[in-house]
Amino acid sequence: MPGSHTLATVAPRAVMRRPWKSDLNNSPYVRKPASVQSVMLRVLLALVPGIAAYVWYFGAGILVNLAIASAAALAGEAAMLHARGRPMGIFLADLSAIVTAWLIVLTFPPIVPWWITAGATLFAIVIVKQLYGGLGQNPFNPAMAAYAITIVAFPALMSQWPHAGVDFASQLDLILGGERTLDAITGATPLDALRTAMHSAAGTQTVAQVLAGGTAFGLFGGRGWEWIAVAYLLGGLYLWQQRIISWHMPAAFISGIVVVAGLLHLINADQFAAPIFHLLSGGTMLAAFFIVTDPVSGATTPRGKLIFAAGAALVTVVIRTFGAYPDGIAFAVLLMNICVPLIDMKTQPPVFGHKDD
């Protein structure tokens, strides 16, 4: 053994400034092979079945949007990291920006003009994420904040969805800013269609009649939407199996939707859609496994996770049913984001040896 004995375990260039002086690494000296990058990569993987189903029912336009949003996210992230003097490579490679970009695209209409996709993504990354301190520091879910601001700013563009079967060329044309001839290729989402129909019918039609009449509706939820929802569910189960998400959030969100929608449905089945319609329409499944589960902006204690997700579910159904917007998930999640510090503080679990206190 050589006589020289260096304490050769000093960390490489510190990304985080530590509040103490020494760079020496103490125990544990072994670590599980895990990284933010691998977590984010598996989230992206889990989204693939949903994207595939999306392409199957609504065409490949979404792929163009995914590319646009990913590029915008990386560009925004890189610019802000540079401006903040943070190391670029490591933060660009953590894939968190790509996850945000993909979630934005999956909640937006697939034929939304490119500048909306790019603009919303830049807003999410630059304002909602980086200005609050970057990875791990944002109090609000960036994708949902972007959705909320866009739907408020461009309500018309944000509610035009392609009919199933619109070809890729037309989609691309719309994405690149082509003129929109309404009704020919675009329509409303099932949630929107139901809401509008119920509104204009003003009591003359029941939910069942609307659902039976409209072309936007499938077996249980929206046509096509229900199978995309199932694909998200599969991806979500993979995340759960990988222990990237715990059961708390999806379970509480889904049961929250079922309970609140179920209660309304029980009160007046003619006026309010059945829980299964809510589950398989709009972004419910995407939200249950990929959006309310965002660790950064969500609650962290077991009970807190249940409260957070159930609260989001309640607000979602209320906005869907009584509000002015077709889907309320974004507002619901943002509202619950505000409550996270309080929820976490008030739901601290008892520590070892103090469980009877």
Binding site: A8, A11, N25, N26, V30, A34, V39, V351, F352
Partner: protein
């Protein structure tokens, strides 16, 4: 017999790396050229050196006497000449030096006369003193003096737990000890059972050590003792005392409480073996089994004399040339040594030679993404990410509110963190800062207290002088007028001054503070009344001192029950200095008063 086992929350399953060092039996490590025996090797007071440079010592001769009851003696591990008694770098990351006895072995291994004792005919106190003077401490790593734990609970059914779980990767010293010396461990356990009056004896062993479990079962049968070997699932940190107690009995011993209060006492198997050697054979604790593993050609377990340089062991085991670090303990909770030559001490269960290839530096620390992977693995049911957040922000009060001091620093959180945050380092940082602040606060409080007392004394002396002067004048007048002066007046003034000083306790008194009316502080006149009428002043002073003492006690440092040797030593030193100052102040005051 199947026993119901309980689960503890969290835990991780790192690569165990134990097989390497269990292939060969335990072997006695040959004598090194020098032994450096630190005097402070246990929790508690630092033993006083009993030898001087130049003296000859016998193997097992006491070279450091226990400092009070919370301490344990230290002995010469072999016969030879004392070369020096001087500070040497101790087995701690800090690289601080500590008073050590350096022995040059004469190679004769000449023992002191040994006196085995029959514990059954001894008084419990006698046994405890014997253990303290034989230097027996917990050998699981915490080195808490064992005699302090060997007290029965009068009103409780006691359970004795022998900890053979050994959950840390690489370490196999308990495993090998159980395989090879199971009967002697249980003979030690017999003594523990006797001392504790324990009905149940449970021996917890992780299920990755079937040979050890088998050996212990056979030993219990051979000795005819009813002791249950309980095989527990392998999951780090199942060998933590609190976790093992929980797994075996379902009892959760809260931080800051003694397990005896819950009817359980837990000892490492190596400690049981040491107790057997001490009482049944009369040998003090001078060696232990040490696993030498890691970046070496022949990992194995050695029986090592305390004071043996770790480099000596690594050389014996065939340290590879790229070895660039020495770790004492396991990779989860071990300490990086400041140099390879620091001595093996009572806390050294394992020496891991490491290299950059074996323990690559962690990837860069990333921000916390609140994924709660740390929450899922925390065996203390803490919210590690919240504690990290507050420690990072230096919001130490909040960190404590989130039970920082319940953290056992097992490292599970840092092990799983996808952001590679050295979480335990953040908790150590926060704890150290809190200790420092509490020390500073205590020091400031005692300084203020001294200042206030001096102000009070000066005021009182002034009063006394005035009283004397008044008495003189009165005496002069008395001869003329033949009239007595009421003696109560000056005494009343002093009373007022005392009350004023007592009142000023909360704030910093100014030396020129005018005497306040005596009505403000009710306790002072009451104290004066109850004291002998002859000297109300003295009673008042005593009352003030008493109050000051109580106040001092109220601000004594907290959170000091889980410290490392080095920290304890530092605190003890400061306390000693402070006590001395207090003593001086007291004598000074007594001089002044008389």
């Amino acid at each position: 017999m199947m026993r119901e086992l309980f689960n503890f929350h969290g835990g991780v399953k790192p690569e165990t790396n134990k097989a390497q060092s269990t292939r060969e039996p335990i072997v006695v490590a040959p004598l090194p050229p020098h032994l450096v025996v630190p005097l402070h090797q246990s929790i508690g007071g630092t033993p006083h050196p009993l030898v001087q440079a130049g003296e000859r010592v016998l193997k097992g001769q006491r070279i450091g006497a226990a400092d009070g009851n919370v301490s344990a003696a230290v002995h010469a591990p072999t016969s030879g000449k004392i070369v020096a008694v001087e500070p040497r770098v101790m087995a701690h990351t800090s690289g601080l030096a500590m008073l050590s006895v350096v022995i040059e072995p004469d190679g004769e291994e000449a023992w002191m006369p040994l006196y085995p004792s029959n514990y059954r005919s001894m008084q419990p106190d006698e046994i405890r003193d014997t253990l303290r003077d034989a230097g027996v401490v917990g050998l699981g790593g915490a080195v808490f003096p064992s005699h302090l734990k060997l007290k029965g609970a009068r009103d409780k059914r006691m359970t004795l737990i022998l900890n053979g779980a050994e959950c840390e990767p690489y370490i196999t010293c308990d495993d090998m000890l159980m395989r090879e010396r199971a009967q002697d461990i249980l003979r030690g356990a017999q003594i523990m059972r006797h001392m504790l009056g324990a009905q149940d004896v449970l021996i917890g062993i992780e299920d990755n050590k079937p040979e050890a479990a088998q050996a212990m079962r056979e030993a219990a049968r051979a000795l005819g003792e009813r002791m249950d070997v309980v095989v527990v699932p392998t999951r780090y940190p199942a060998g933590g005392a609190k976790q093992l107690i929980r797994v075996l009995t379902g009892i959760e011993v809260p931080h800051g409480s003694r397990s005896t209060d819950y009817g359980v006492q837990c000892f490492n198997v190596g400690t049981a073996y040491a107790i057997h050697e001490t009482l049944n054979l009369g040998r003090p604790l001078i060696s232990r089994i040490v696993t030498v593993s890691g970046n070496v050609e022949r990992p194995r377990n050695y029986e090592v004399l305390f004071g043996t340089p770790m480099s000596h062991l690594v050389k014996l085991a065939g340290g590879r040339p790229d070895t660039d670090r020495t770790i004492m303990g396991g990779p989860m909770m071990g300490y990086l040594m400041p140099n390879p030559d620091v001595p093996v001490v009572k806390a050294t269960n394992c020496v891991i030679a490491g290299s950059r290839a074996m323990f690559p530096p962690p990837p860069p620390e990333m921000p916390c993404i609140r994924c709660t992977a740390c929450v899922d693995v925390c065996p203390a049911d803490l919210q590690p990410h919240e504690m990290y957040w507050f420690a990072r922000a230096k919001n130490f009060g909040k960190a404590q509110e989130y039970h920082l001091f319940d953290c056992i620093e097992c490292g599970c959180c840092a092990y799983v963190c996808p952001s590679h945050i050295p979480l335990v380092d953040y908790y150590r940082f926060a704890k150290t800062e809190i200790w420092a602040r509490e020390r500073d606060k205590a020091a400031a409080d005692s300084a203020r207290e001294r200042f206030e007392f001096r102000t009070f004394r000066e005021e009182r002396e002034k009063e006394e002088k005035a009283a004397k002067l008044a008495a003189k004048t009165a005496a002069g007048r008395q001869t003329a007028e033949k009239k007595a002066v009421p003696a109560a007046a000056p005494a009343g003034d002093a009373l007022q001054a005392a009350a004023a000083a007592a009142q000023a306790e909360g704030t910093v008194a100014t030396p020129s503070a005018p005497p306040q009316p005596a009505t403000a502080d009710l306790s002072a006149p009451v104290a004066a009344e109850t004291a002998p009428a002859a000297d109300p002043k003295k009673a008042l002073i005593e009352a003030a001192i008493e109050r000051a003492r109580k106040q001092r006690e109220a601000v004594s440092p907290k959170n000091t029950d889980n410290l490392s040797d080095a920290k304890r030593a530092e605190i003890a030193e400061i306390e000693a200095r402070r006590a001395k100052i207090r003593e001086m102040a007291k004598t000074h005051d007594e001089d002044g008063a008389s």
